[in-house]
């Protein structure tokens, strides 16, 4: 039995425990073939070491730890100021796909207050009554917004976010109903017990700064998009009431396991939760804004930003009732959607196809002023079963 390169390398690097080390040493002493291999391994290591040492600098002096530590504290203080945006955009903050839905809604509503925010001209109030899906080519918009300094400034200067508390675990439906202030519905035909959490509501207020918004558009190379002047200074308030999340299956994200599977902490994609179904219900968020704004015009700008051509955006914007419709942008490729009857109303089932993991679905509908969503792996069949057995 001869030694492998890996064993030899481990031995040469002195990374082997004593008993095995002795075995390898005595084998090497008596085996010319392995000696030869050991010389090759050592030779290659020397060669690489010599080359890689080129990128060392023997005169390198790291900052004194005290100085570096002070700079770290300063950076933390600086970044904490801007975590508001991260809080809202952070996928880890709420259960996986629900987060994605909320993030889309909030990110869009916040980055472009113009959007649905600008409610109907009489009440100045937006309340979700229906969904419309629009297929778009957002391109690298998410990355651009993520690294935009203008957006960051907008959040720091103009946006106030208030969260009413932290997510709370609750033991049963009654407790959830009481805490959230809505009659919580749960599926009867579902073989597992849910983990119930009450998510706190919150309020986001800001004034539209048209100059800043235009600077942002310019920064991301979309200064071609026109915004109506009357938008400037509009006071917008987004209210989100408490909601309840029921999680079925294995929904806890385990960092240890994820690392084993090659999870990349820099990868902004959501963690893999192959066996997690999340059911969420919350009263429709409301958005108040000054009356009299040109909603279709603003909707048009939003659709263009999402990658629609100006003509396409203009004609689509006219078909939407922007005061009651939540427009969900989905990528044109890799995502499909369809209208489905669910829970006695019409819902929308969106499926995100994936090459390297299971497809994920998002089923959304509104009934009696409550917004419902189910997310999980698969084609959504089980979601419909869940939704149709609610009581």
């Amino acid at each position: 039995m001869h030694l492998t390169e890996g064993l030899i390398r481990t031995y040469l690097d002195n990374e082997m425990a004593a008993p095995q080390k002795d075995q390898v040493r005595s084998h090497l002493a008596s085996c010319p073939q392995c000696q030869k291999l050991a010389e090759q391994v050592a030779g290659q290591a020397r060669q690489s070491s010599a080359r890689l040492s080129m990128i060392d600098d023997p005169h390198l002096q790291s900052l004194r730890p005290n100085t570096a530590h002070a700079r770290l504290q300063a950076r933390i203080a600086e970044k904490e100021k801007t975590t508001m945006r991260q809080k809202i955009l952070s996928a880890r903050y709420r259960p996986a796909w629900v987060a994605l839905g909320l993030v889309l809604v909030l990110a869009v509503a916040l980055a472009f207050p113009s959007v649905q925010a600008i409610a109907n001209s009489f009440l100045g109030l937006f309340r979700v009554q229906q969904f419309t899906v629009v297929q778009v080519n957002p391109g690298n918009l998410p990355e651009q917004l993520g690294s935009s300094t203008q957006l960051e400034q907008m959040f720091t200067d103009n946006v106030v976010v208030e969260e009413y508390g932290k997510p709370q675990d609750v033991a049963n439906r009654d407790e959830a109903s009481q805490l959230a202030g809505i009659p919580v519905r749960l599926p009867t035909r579902w073989d597992r017990q849910p983990v119930l959490k009450v998510m706190p509501g919150g309020e986001i207020t800001f004034n539209v700064d048209l100059q800043l918004t235009r600077a942002l558009l310019e920064e991301i190379g979309r200064s071609d998009i026109q915004l109506p002047d009357d938008l400037d200074g509009a006071a917008v308030q987004v209210s989100v009431a408490s909601g309840v999340t029921a999680m079925y299956g294995d929904c806890e994200f385990d960092p240890g396991q994820a690392r084993q599977e090659g999870y990349d902490p820099d990868d902004p994609r959501l963690p893999r939760l192959p066996d997690c179904t999340t059911f969420m219900q919350m009263p429709s968020p409301t958005i108040t804004a000054p009356p009299g704004l040109d909603l279709p015009k603003i909707g048009e700008a939003y659709l263009q930003l999402m990658g629609m051509s100006p003509e396409e955006a203009a004609s689509f914007a006219q078909t939407v009732d922007w005061s009651t419709t939540l427009v969900i942008p989905i990528p044109r490729y890799g995502t499909t959607y369809r209208e489905v009857p669910v829970d006695g109303v019409n819902g929308t089932l969106i499926i995100q196809e994936s090459q390297d993991r299971a497809d994920q679905y998002l089923l959304v509908w509104v009934k009696d002023g409550i917004l419902y969503s189910v997310t999980g792996p698969g084609d959504g069949t089980s979601a419909l079963r869940l939704a149709n057995s609610l009581e």
């Binding site: 990374e15 290659q44 690489s48 080359r51 530590h69 933390i76 902490p265």
Partner: protein, 180 residues
């Protein structure tokens, strides 16, 4: 769902600054050195190292196990370093210009020898960028002094396979380097 963060991230500012300080004192110099190897510029390496520690503070990975904390940190650092290198490559050979600029700042050195050295350094980094990411990370971290168990933790591989992967990574590196 806040992952396991509530469990492990101390709530008070004082607590959080103390665990961070422990991690900082233990890993700062080496994280900085890893990044310097990759980007070759002290200010940029410092900036990236601070970014890695900021992410540690912000993402608070599993702090129950100090080994996994170090591993997480080195992995983030080496990713940041390679991302910076790739971004630089996209900025069209910034490196060679920067190095030539450097040479002009230090006229007392032998220019011919320095140009040659700068070219070799450029070649090493280019070769690293051509490797499979894990191989490149493995080499940089190993030559920054990480032990087998630290490498295993940082890259999520079995400690027993580090030797084999190192031999393989060096072979890949030699091929990439000589092909340049």
């Amino acid at each position: 769902m806040r992952l396991t963060a509530d469990k492990i991230k101390p709530e008070s500012a004082q607590d959080s600054s103390s665990w961070l300080e422990v991690a900082f004192n233990e890993h700062w110099s080496r994280v900085f050195a890893v990044l310097f190897r990759l980007v070759g510029d002290e200010a940029e390496a410092e900036d990236l190292a601070l970014e890695a520690f900021w992410r540690l503070y912000n993402h608070h990975p599993n702090l129950d196990n100090p080994h996994s904390l170090g591993g997480w940190l080195y992995r983030v650092a080496v990713n940041l370093g390679f991302n910076a290198l790739r971004a630089r490559r996209r900025r069209q050979q910034y490196e060679s210009e920067a190095m030539l600029g450097d040479l002009q700042d230090k006229p007392q050195w032998d220019p011919a020898e320095q140009v040659e050295k700068a070219q070799e350094i450029l070649k090493v980094r280019q070769a690293l960028l051509r490797l499979k990411p894990r191989s490149a990370q493995l080499l940089v971290l190993r030559y920054s002094g990480l032990s087998y168990s630290e490498l295993a933790e940082a890259l999520g591989i079995a400690p027993g396979s580090v030797g084999t992967l190192l031999v393989r990574a060096e072979r890949e590196f030699e091929e990439a380097y000589t092909a340049l």
